[in-house]
């Protein structure tokens, strides 16, 4: 997932601040914790001193009380009676008076006279004291499992008569008193044997040291106790008050760590509160800052996207004086610049740079707009061409002609009718969209535009006379799409050129033929490249020799798009486009190959091949042909080239020269379609041919038409007189054949004999040809 700028800024700020705060709080807490512990330790130290002082004070008070008691007259009197019962009475009474829990009386010598408790071994230490001093003293002792503060006072009457000891049990009440003063929990640990369980007396609730009972070495037991308390959250300080072989007593002063830290807990709470507040404030501030950044960025991003999508009109509105404002202004000026450049590019894309007129694309747009806005409103389209542009260009060069074109554009613009649109659509072509052009006005409008070209153009000192031609299309009558309009205007223009007219109107239907021609020409080129032609052979019968002596090679073309195509249609187009030479080449190759095959089969069969006018006029073709016939192992005598009259007519001199070369090379030539052209007899005389081929139009109905009979007969005679042989094509019945035979025709060709056949069909046909069917003619 992509994290937004705002979020990442927020994360960074908050985590940085959080880290800082956390570190600070951690450091402070560490310091305060250490401080609290140190304070607690100090407190404990003080508490322990206070405790010791209290203990001393307590024993001093007890001593005072005991001393006061021992000085009581009645007391002394009672002791002095030396009567045991009285002594018991007074000891018990006075002991109770001062709240003693333990009473012991010793002889001045130190022997125990009487005692409430089995004070045991401790007496030794008392005796020690008694012997060395005369004044009262106190000590701690543990008797019968209870710790006591024992005060020993001498009883003097006035001589020392006894030592009386008053013991005060150290109970929880005393502990609580100590606690109230020291402000520390007091725990007393003690035992009066060396190995037994250690008893504890504590001010702590649910004394945690009671279970399990402590035992073992006293010093380590104290440590264990301190540790156990620490686990319960108490910081303790220990001191040993008695540590003799059979009595041990220690004190643990404890303060609650929690309480010690309580003050700091408050501090921590406050710090956490401050930290939380700081984080929230920082988050809000960061969010605000981020918004201050992301909002203009969002605006800029939106603007950039809009500009990228091509909308430059809307300015970026960022009312800020900071960097964002500058960026916004920059975007705006960039937008303006792009807009300007785009306008410029659009102008260039739509206009001809040389003349400033709308160009071909622009005219297409205008025309399409015009067609779609008012399709039924008539208008005219004038395609004007400077007809002598190429020639002028050859003479004066491009730069001069550019200036001519500029002036021409100016003149056209000057003569422009108000609603007309003029554009330059080709090097020397202008297209005029003439509004409301009716056929009646046509001539006048055309004249108006051509008028501008009457005066010569002046370039430097040169005077140039430009001639123009115009093709006119009336819309929507003639065409209603730009493509059609332009093409048909060109057709009209071509018509004008063909007929050397200043202008020509488009004639309806011209375009379809034209299109067909273009298509056929195009497909023909494809066929030449990729194949698609087939060669058929129509046999020719030698009437004199009485045999099939040759066959005419006829091209057939099966096109996948156009279907079966006839030579009548595509050969003229191939001649126009110049592709005929390639086709002739193909036919020649194919025919020669086939002839060789026949020869190999033992058929003495020649081939007639049609040459087009174009072939004849192409010198290099003739060169190649002659060279080829000379080199290849070809029976030239079996080869016949047929040329139509019209082929020679276009450029007779050139054609005749080339024909002569073929003739000289030993190739047989025949004049095809004889009788359809307008060749003069003188030409015929000069034609280097061996044979005439009477056109089938004279032969098809020969048996019925007497005129045809006369023409054919005289043609045959004439040809024979000129030394030419004659062949008739289009023979379709036996009657015509018989007539031709009688007329002395040399050979025939036609459906009566055979229709054109493929090479393989011909081979079969030859094998079964009934010689005798025709031989009867001889009879």
């Amino acid at each position: 997932m992509a994290i937004s700028f705002r979020t990442s800024l927020l994360l960074i700020f908050i985590s940085l601040l959080g880290l800082t705060l956390a570190t600070t709080i951690w450091a402070v807490m560490r310091a305060t914790d250490a401080n609290a512990r140190a304070n607690a330790a100090r407190e404990l130290e003080v508490a322990e001193r206070v405790f010791e002082t209290l203990l001393d004070e307590n024993s001093r008070q007890l001593t005072d009380r005991a001393t006061l008691l021992a000085e009581d007259f009645a007391f002394r009197q009672a002791i002095a009676t030396n009567e045991e019962n009285t002594i018991i009475s007074v000891l018990a009474n006075h002991g109770e008076r001062i709240g003693a829990d333990l009473i012991i009386m010793l002889d001045p010598s130190g022997d125990v006279r009487i005692s409430t408790h089995a004070i045991g071994e401790d007496v030794d230490s008392l005796r020690q004291h008694i012997r060395t001093g005369q004044s009262a003293f106190s000590e701690l002792t543990i008797t019968e499992g209870q710790p006591y503060q024992l005060v020993m006072v001498p009883v003097e009457a006035p001589d020392l008569i006894a030592w009386v000891g008053m013991g005060f049990v150290m109970d929880s009440e005393l502990m609580n008193g100590f606690r109230d003063i020291t402000k520390a929990e007091v725990t007393m640990l003690y035992r009066d044997d060396n190995s037994g369980a250690i008893r504890t007396l504590s001010t702590l609730n649910d004394n945690p040291l009671s279970v399990p009972a402590l035992s073992g070495r006293f010093a380590s037991a104290l440590n264990v106790a301190a540790n156990r308390l620490r686990n319960d959250g108490w910081l303790s300080r220990q001191s040993t008050l008695i540590n003799s072989a059979d009595q041990q007593l220690g004190i643990l002063m404890s303060v609650s760590l929690q309480e010690a830290l309580a003050a700091y807990t408050n501090l921590r709470t406050q710090m956490l509160g401050i930290a939380a507040l700081a984080l929230v404030l920082a988050a809000v501030a960061t969010a605000l800052i981020a918004r201050g950044i992301t909002q203009p960025i969002d605006t800029l991003v939106r603007a950039a996207r809009r500009i990228a999508s091509g909308d430059y009109r809307q300015p970026v509105e960022l009312d800020r004086k900071n960097e964002f404002g500058v960026l916004g202004d920059t975007l705006n000026s960039m937008q303006d610049a792009i807009q300007d450049r785009e306008r410029h590019i659009a102008y260039q894309a739509q206009h001809d740079i040389l003349t400033g007129l709308p160009n071909r694309d622009r005219m297409a747009t205008l025309m399409n707009e015009r067609l779609s806005s008012a399709p039924d409103e008539p208008f005219g389209v004038l395609l004007m061409q400077i007809s002598n542009f190429d020639a002028l260009s050859d003479v004066y060069g491009v730069s001069v002609m550019d200036r001519v074109l500029q002036q021409a554009a100016e003149r056209l613009t000057r003569n422009r009718r108000s609603d007309d649109r003029i554009g330059r659509v080709g090097t020397d072509e202008f297209l005029i969209l003439a509004e409301h052009l009716s056929p009646a006005q046509c001539r006048a409008v055309v004249h108006q535009y051509q008028l501008g070209f009457e005066a010569p153009f002046h370039c430097d000192a040169i005077e140039i006379k430009a001639e123009t031609r115009i093709g006119v299309v009336h819309c929507p009558e003639h065409a209603d799409t730009y493509e059609d309009i332009l093409r048909r205007a060109h057709i009209a223009l071509n018509d004008a050129r063909h007929h050397s007219l200043a202008f020509a109107l488009y004639e309806i239907g011209r375009d379809e033929v034209h299109l067909r021609k273009i298509t056929v020409t195009h497909r023909l080129q494809q066929a030449i490249l990729n194949g698609g032609f087939e060669l058929l052979f129509q046999p020719q019968y030698d009437l004199r020799a009485g045999r099939i002596h040759s066959a005419e090679a006829l091209i057939r073309w099966q096109d996948p798009e156009l279907g079966r195509m006839f030579p009548d249609e595509f050969i003229p187009l191939a001649e126009q486009s110049g592709d005929i030479t390639l086709i002739t080449d193909w036919v020649l190759n194919e025919a020669l190959r086939q002839m060789a095959a026949w020869q190999a089969d033992g058929h003495d069969l020649g081939v007639s091949i049609n040459l087009s006018a174009r072939d004849v006029l192409q010198d290099d073709f003739i060169d190649g042909l002659i060279a080829r016939l000379r080199h290849d192992d070809i029976r030239r005598d079996a080869l016949m080239f047929e040329i139509t009259e019209s082929a020679v007519m276009a450029d007779p001199e050139h054609a005749l020269r080339n024909l002569q070369r073929l003739y000289d090379a030993g190739v047989s030539l025949a004049m095809d379609d004889f009788g359809t052209g307008f060749s003069s007899l003188s030409q015929l005389k000069s034609m280097p041919v061996h044979e005439l081929k009477i056109d089938k139009s004279f032969v098809l109905r020969l048996d019925e038409d007497r005129d045809d009979q006369r023409i054919v007969r005289s043609t045959i005679e004439m040809a024979h007189h000129l030394g030419l042989s004659v062949i008739a094509e289009g023979v379709e019945n036996r009657a015509s054949l018989a007539l031709l035979y009688d007329m002395g025709c040399d050979a025939i060709q036609g459906y009566y004999l055979s229709k054109p056949k493929t090479a393989s069909e011909l081979r079969e046909w030859l094998a079964t040809f009934d010689q005798h069917r025709l031989e009867s003619l001889h009879a």
């Binding site: 009197q77 009672a78 009676t81 019962n85 009285t86 018991i88 009475s89 009474n93």
Partner: protein
């Protein structure tokens, strides 16, 4: 039995008049506390009453000390009575009193060593023992001839007295802050064969022997073990 309530009204009771014109007797009285518990060791004095019997001189009384207690604990004596304080315990006693009616001291003594003490002034004398702080005894010294101390059932039966010699009774008990005075006529009006008088206090719960005497026991035990 009729019950006579004390209170602000003061006394109650009818005085039963005996057969003899000169002699009068009060009906049998039963003293109870506010809870109805019989109050023993309460003192009742018929102020100023004179006995119908011929008046004798005040005699001698005995306040013994048995098991660290004064026996009886409460004694009523006519002024001028000499009281002996024999010691029946095996420990000595040091009997003393600081009461205004009689201040005296009998220093540590045993047996019948101590001389009798004459109580010549009426009033309350509180007795103590200097070496047995728990010992307490009361000698109520009166001028009247007619008085009594309630027994364990709280009953007091007074002897006959001379009609008209007294008109008030005073009631006292160690646990009462002050003595109480009742008009005899109120008592008489209450009438009846016996009369219950409610005293305005509540007897303290009888505490078990304080364990404090453990010290004595222990010392005693030590002594016995030593013997």
């Amino acid at each position: 039995m009729r019950r006579l309530k004390t209170g602000l009204l003061g006394l109650l009771g009818g005085v039963w008049i005996g057969g003899a014109a000169q002699a009068a007797t009060l009906p049998g009285l039963t003293l109870v506390d506010l809870q109805g518990q019989p109050v023993s060791e309460a003192v009742l004095v018929l102020e100023g009453a004179e006995t119908t019997a011929p008046e004798g001189e005040p005699g001698e009384a005995i306040v013994d000390q048995v098991d660290l207690e004064f026996v009886p604990r409460v004694a009523v004596v006519r002024a001028g009575t000499r009281v002996r304080f024999p010691n029946s315990d095996d420990t000595r006693h040091h009997v003393y009193s600081f009461s205004p009616a009689k201040t005296f001291e009998l220093q540590l003594y045993q047996g019948n060593e101590a001389p009798p003490v004459e109580f010549d002034q009426s009033g309350l004398v509180v007795l103590g023992c200097n070496i047995h702080d728990s010992m307490r005894g009361y000698i109520y010294v009166v001028d009247s001839q007619i008085y009594g101390v309630s027994d364990a059932q709280g009953r007091i039966t007074l002897p006959a007295y001379s009609e008209g010699s007294a008109d008030r009774v005073t009631l006292w008990h160690p646990d009462m802050k002050q003595s109480m005075s009742l008009s005899l006529s109120d008592l008489r009006q209450a009438g009846g064969e016996t009369l219950e008088i409610q005293l305005p206090f509540t007897l303290p719960e009888t505490e078990p022997e304080p364990e404090g005497s453990g010290l004595r026991n222990r010392l005693q035990r030590y002594k016995n073990n030593g013997d």
